[in-house]
Symmetry: C2
Subunit: 334 residues, 2 copies
C-alpha cells in the first residue's frame, strides 16, 4: 500500500520534472544578458561534474529587499508604517504631542515630513518599533500590511513585489538554493510577511535588528519586549557582517540595487568558484521609477545607485539588471 | 531514463521506510519516562489530524551544547582551546608574557589556572578568539578539533558527544523538525564542526557571538575580521533573546542541562499546544560525571544544575533525563 503510493509519487514527480524542463522558469524576463546570466549560473553550479558545482549545503543566495524585491519609492514601506503609527504612540504618551519630530509628523505636512533629518527619523523608528512585546508588534504589522496601500498604485505594498524576482527566488529554490533576504529594513518587520509574500521563512530573513528583553508577565508567563538597542545595522558593511552573524557562510549569489548592497555584492563575488552578483537599475519611469546618476537620472535619498557603484559593477563583473530592458512584466497584477 | 531512475528511487525509499518502521529510533535509550516523552511528543505533533499537529515550518527544536550534546567536564572544550592558544598569542605579542592572566596560563600550573576569575577568562577569550580573519579562525579550530584530546578518555572531544542525543537529533529531523544548537559557547567555534558532528549546518547554530569588521586585504579582496565586541551573550535570558534574533520563532521543544538553559526551557514551554522541555541530569559518576545539588551532588563552576532548577522542572512539567537511568549507552565508541 505504502510502496504503491510512493512509486506513484515517483511517477508524478518524474512527469512534473519533464514538464518543468519544457517550461521557461523566468517567463517575466526578456531574453538578454541578465536572464542568461541567471540561467548559466544555476546550470554551472548545480550540474554534477561541473568544475563549479556547489554542494547543496553551500547554495546560499541573498537578496536585498527595498528596490530589489519590491518598490522602494516614494518612501520605504516600513517608514510609512512608522509615520502612520505616530498617532498611536502619542495617544499613549500625550506629552510627545508638541515635541519634535512627532509634532511635524502629526501636522500631516508632507513637505515638512520629507525634510525630517536622519536623527529625527531614528526617534520615530525607536518610538514606533520598540517598547512592546514581540507578539504585539507582529500582530500590528500583520494588520497594517494587509490594509495599507501604496499611494500611486492604490494597492497593498505586497502587490508591488517584482514578479521577475519572485520567479528567480522560486527557480533558485527549485534548484536547491536557500534564499535569504538581507535587508536594511527591520528584521522583525520583514519577517511578518516574508513567508507569505516571498516564500522565505523568518529564520532566512536577516535585517536591521534591535535587542529584545526577556521578562515575565503578570500571569508569570515569559515574553520578549522589543528594546531600543541596535544590534545590527544591516546596511553597507553591515550586510556581510550580518550574513556572517546569521548564516555563517559566504553567499554564492547576491542581488541588490544600491550602495547599501555594495559590500554584500563584493563579499559574494570575492569567493571561489562561480559567483553571481546582480544589481537592479531603476530606469523605467513609465512602468515603475527611474533614479540613479548612472543613467543621468537624479539621485534620491533612497536606493542610491551612484556612478561609482555602476563602475564597480562593470569592473568586477556584476550583472546590471535594467528594469526597462530586462523585465517583460514588473508586477503580477499587470 | 529519468523516469525509471526516479521510480527506482521511490522503491528504495519505500523499502527503507518499511524497515524504519520496525526499528527503534532511539536504541541507546532505556525504556522509561524520558524516552516515552520524546516518542509521544513527536507522534502528537506530527500526526495529521492531531489537535497538537505542528506545521513543518514551525517544527523548531533547540539544543544546548555543553553538558547536553557533549561532555562539559572538567572544562568546556572551547576554554581548553583558548588556554592552549595562549602561547600563539604571546608569540605574536611578547609583551603579554609577564602580564596576567597570560602569565598564569603560560606557567602551566593547573591549580592556578583553575582559579582564574571570570574577567581573567574573558581577557583570554578575547585574545584567542578575536583579532584574526574569520577564515583563519575557522581553519585553526578545524585543526584543533581534529587533534585535541579529552584528558580522561584520551579521545577527540567530538567522540564525547552523547549517542542518545544524536539519535534524538536524527529522529526529530526524520520527522520534519529543524534542529538548532543554542549554546553559550562561541557561535563561530561550534559552527566549524557542528555539521560534521551533529548534522547541524552553520546557519542553525546560535551561540555567543561577537561582531566582525568588514575590510579589504592588500590584494583588494574583502574579508571579515573577528572583533572583541560582544553582540550576543547566549546564556540565561540571552538564549530566548538569541533565538528571537536568529530564528524568529519560539521553539516547540528544547533540551538543556543547566541554569543557563532555564529561560530557553521556560520560553519554549510557555507556547501554545504540545511543548517538550527536557533537562539532562548528570548523575552517573562512573560512566560520565555526577554534579548538581538536586542529587545531593556538589555544585560545580560549569553546568550548574540547582535545586531551584530541579523544582521548576517538576512544577512546569519539564522532563528530567537521568543519564544513569535513561541512557543505555552514552558514547558511540562504547
Amino acid at each position: 500500500m505504502k510502496l504503491i503510493r510512493i512509486v506513484a509519487a515517483g511517477v508524478v514527480l518524474a512527469l512534473g520534472a519533464a514538464a518543468q524542463a519544457q517550461t521557461d522558469p523566468l517567463p517575466s524576463w526578456n531574453d538578454g544578458p541578465a536572464k542568461q546570466a541567471i540561467l548559466a549560473f544555476v546550470k554551472d553550479t548545480t550540474t554534477q561534474g561541473s568544475a563549479n558545482f556547489v554542494p547543496p549545503a553551500e547554495r546560499i543566495v541573498t537578496f536585498d529587499q527595498d528596490g530589489t524585491l519590491w518598490v522602494e519609492h516614494p518612501m520605504y514601506s516600513q517608514v510609512m508604517y512608522c509615520l502612520e503609527h505616530v498617532p498611536d504612540v502619542v495617544a499613549k504618551k500625550p506629552e510627545l504631542k508638541n515635541v519634535e519630530p512627532f509634532k511635524t509628523v502629526l501636522s500631516g505636512d508632507r513637505e515638512a515630513i520629507a525634510k525630517l533629518t536622519m536623527p529625527d527619523l531614528m526617534k520615530i523608528l525607536a518610538a514606533t518599533l520598540t517598547g512592546m512585546p514581540v507578539e504585539a508588534f507582529q500582530a500590528e504589522v500583520k494588520k497594517w500590511i494587509a490594509e495599507a496601500k501604496d499611494p500611486r498604485w492604490k494597492r497593498p505594498y505586497t502587490d508591488l513585489t517584482y514578479q521577475p524576482m519572485k520567479e528567480v527566488l522560486e527557480y533558485l529554490r527549485a534548484n536547491g538554493f536557500k534564499t535569504y533576504i538581507v535587508t536594511g529594513g527591520g528584521q522583525d518587520f520583514v519577517r511578518v510577511y516574508a513567508d507569505g509574500v516571498y516564500g522565505i521563512p523568518s529564520e532566512q530573513v536577516v535585517g536591521t535588528a534591535g535587542g529584545t528583553k526577556y521578562g515575565y508577565g503578570k500571569d508569570g508567563k515569559p515574553f520578549l519586549t522589543k528594546e531600543p538597542k541596535l544590534l545590527l545595522n544591516d546596511n553597507d558593511a553591515g550586510k556581510p557582517e550580518g550574513i556572517h552573524l546569521m548564516i555563517g557562510r559566504r553567499p554564492v549569489a547576491a542581488f541588490g540595487n544600491s550602495t547599501g548592497d555594495q559590500q554584500m555584492l563584493e563579499y559574494t563575488k570575492a569567493g571561489d568558484g562561480a559567483r553571481l552578483a546582480m544589481l537592479v537599475l531603476h530606469d523605467d519611469a513609465k512602468r515603475e521609477y527611474a533614479y540613479g546618476p548612472a543613467q543621468g537620472l537624479p539621485a534620491t535619498k533612497v536606493g542610491t545607485f551612484t556612478q561609482a557603484l555602476y563602475d564597480e559593477a562593470k569592473k568586477d563583473g556584476w550583472v546590471v539588471i535594467s528594469i526597462k530592458d530586462d523585465w517583460k512584466r514588473i508586477f503580477a497584477f499587470e
